[in-house]
Amino acid sequence: MVANAQTPVIECRGLTKVFKDFWLRPRVTAVDGLDLVIEPHQVFGLLGPNGSGKSTTIKMILGLLFPTKGRIAIFGKLPTDVETKARIGYLPEESYLYRFLNARETLDFYGRIFNLPRSERNKRIDMLLEMVGLEGVQRRPVGEYSKGMQRRIGLAQALINDPDLLILDEPTTGLDPLGTRQIKDLILHLKQRGKTVLLCSHLLADVEDVCDRVTVLYGGRIRALGTIEELLSVSDSTQIETERLEPALVAKVRELIEKEHRKVHKVEAPRRKLEALFLEIVQKALSEGAATSGAKTGGAVAEFLAAGAAPAPADEGRQVIAGLVEAAKPAPPPEVSKPEPAAPAADARVLDALTAPKPEAKPASEEKPSPPKAVDRSVIDDLLKKDDPS
């Protein structure tokens, strides 16, 4: 069920959507001549402020809206093609579910629409309920769920068919950090399995963490399109991250850099992310067996979603959710800063000098991209004070 590598998963050409009023006069141009190609195995981010045309584009891709101009092909076919829809999973911007059905019945309802055999359906439902942490409340009507729990069951319904293309419209809205992290890990996991994900969000951090390529829409038009690397790399500065350095050593580094006629903008001690702290607290409560009537921590990725995943280095794929536990532990000092696209010769010499006594440091190519940290001037001040004989 993996898309043919030759065929783009989604291809929009000159896509335009003009909403008209009662008298058929053009009122709003929601999408204006959009050209978009999403290749297989990509996690593609659709970014933009409210009203930029993201959701309209998604609805046209799903055949819920018809383009005014232009064309769309999903797996090379029309969006209204029923067979194509069997390969799509969709989580709308809000969980539009039958309030009177419980979680299990909800998944069964959608599973039946995919014509999944009963035994397979039940197996998947069990796995998905466990994955999204709702197995304990599966008999409660969805209408009684909190918003976050509804998002979880919404996510589960989007995955019931093990889709080749997963369309997520604001997937983390209403979710706690645990759920947010789980969705991000799940996206990475699906990508590893060769799936294609279209992520629509205005939470930039989420997109940055998981997307290969992004496009930024404004006024229904593409304002930027490219890989995260292409769009976010800062070519005129270098960030080095090491074990904690003594103030004297920091001064030496500073001196060394300044000797090369380079400016040091900031020296800071990294801080943990609030997300990591939150996950640690929840994990601790879980290990203490604290009771909750809400959703539990999600379980491992459902087996049917994990099956067929390429063996990942460090077994990353099968342990996505288990990774939550590790994420909840006090974060080790961040390993590396952003990868450098092309370091100038002078920078290379500085790096060599710095890394020489620490041969165990990991090469930059294995490092995870990390957004720039906020400047903590107090660390620099401390360093300067201690090194300053006055």
Binding site: L62, Y98, F100, L101, R112
Partner: protein, 523 residues
Amino acid sequence: MTSAAVRWGGRFALSLAAWAAVEGLVWLGGAGDPLASAPGRAAAGVFAGAWLFIAGFALLRLLLGLEWSPLGVARAVVEEAVRMRLAVAFIGLLIFILAALPAMQDAETPLRYRVQTFLSFGLGATATLLSLLTVFLSCASLSNEIQDHRIFTVMSKPIGRGPYLLGKWLGLMLLNALLLAVAGTLVAGFTWQLARETGVDTGDALSVRREVLTARESRAPEPADDLEKRALARLNQLKKDGSPLLVEMREDALYAQLVGQEKKQWLSLAPHGQETYVFDGLGDAKREGREIQVRYLLRASQAPPENTVTIALEINGRTGTLRTKVNDYQLMSVPPEAVDEDGRLTLRFINENRRHPKQTFETTLTFPPGDGLEAMYERGGFAGNFARGLAILWLKLGFLAMFGLAAATFLSFPVAALMTLAVFVVAAASGFLIDALAYFGDNERSETLKSATSAVRWTGLLLAEILGPYSRYAPAPKIVDGRYIPFGDVLGCAASIGLVWTGLSAAVAWLIFRARELARVQV
């Protein structure tokens, strides 16, 4: 034994005990047969209705569990109706009405009338409540799904818009089948229970069996002369004479009135006058040796003493005296031997007291057109007739369900419900509307208003004619009168209302639904 079976077994035992307790209390209260009292009947109705519904719902779920995606949609419709308490409210209201009805009737009224009243109101309430439920549920089920965007999730799945609509309709049809089965069982059960009660006399109890809890084929007399020809001749004469009637009335309306007069004339007996009525198509009754029941109603132009007249009746050349009530339906038994070899029964009524001609009460007697005079014979049992009647109701509900869905494909819930309700009312009253609109605006003098009233009349007539079969296939009056509902009626209803109307509504619904955008501007 699974825990669910234990749980349901416990609930059944508990409700059984509660029912027995209520019946026991009624019995201790000195009401005699608990089922003859309103509280006892209500308790039995609640118990039977609730468990019939639960068992039927379980069966329905099994059926809806079959692997076919439209059935998944159908199941959601059924679950919505049940869990949103709509279906439960319907059954509750019906049980209340059925239990209360006998208590509201006078015990001095002949049992036959009480049973007929109960049947009439019970079936009427069932049909009306189910129609309303179908109208609102069909409109709400689709328009709310579009309104609150649930359809986004469903339509992003591999189900076409046609199969989705089919699933919705199947859900409504199966829910209606369940509710109709439960309601029908309750109405029939209460009817049989009521029929067991003591009548005002032995004839009363017998007439319940002969005239209500039966299914009788009916034959109306055919006039020997062509009444329409006679009416046309009269019209031509009026034209020739330059009658002012032709100025006051439209020609077609005048002709219709003349035909009515001719028929009335044929069905009238002047003092000392006589008329022969031939009933055809009674060969089956003769072959099967079934008794012929001549059912008639005589209206007298002047009320005779004790509302009774003495007239003569001739069958096969033998004349007898008949002392009969006027202004009330009467039943007269005729042996099957009276039917000739061609299956015809010939009756000659003479408005004269043959024994004492001078004592003849001088009044014109008239059999009202319609069901004023007919020959009947038993063709089948009450249960089968009742079931065929329910099948017709179900087919009609199927049309309403599809029309409601079609309206909801492009209208919001209140507008769609209002439109479907309007069609239901026009369809149900189409017979009356056709009669009422025939003369609408005839007395209008102003030419402008005449054109306007004419447009209203023809639009109304067209609509009423199109929707006519809805009121023509009305099983309740037939069941109440113990008239046979032929299987052909069920097939006819299935063809005209089921296939043509529902099919047309489905085609319109599909065309609109597949062409419409399900999302709206949100920028």
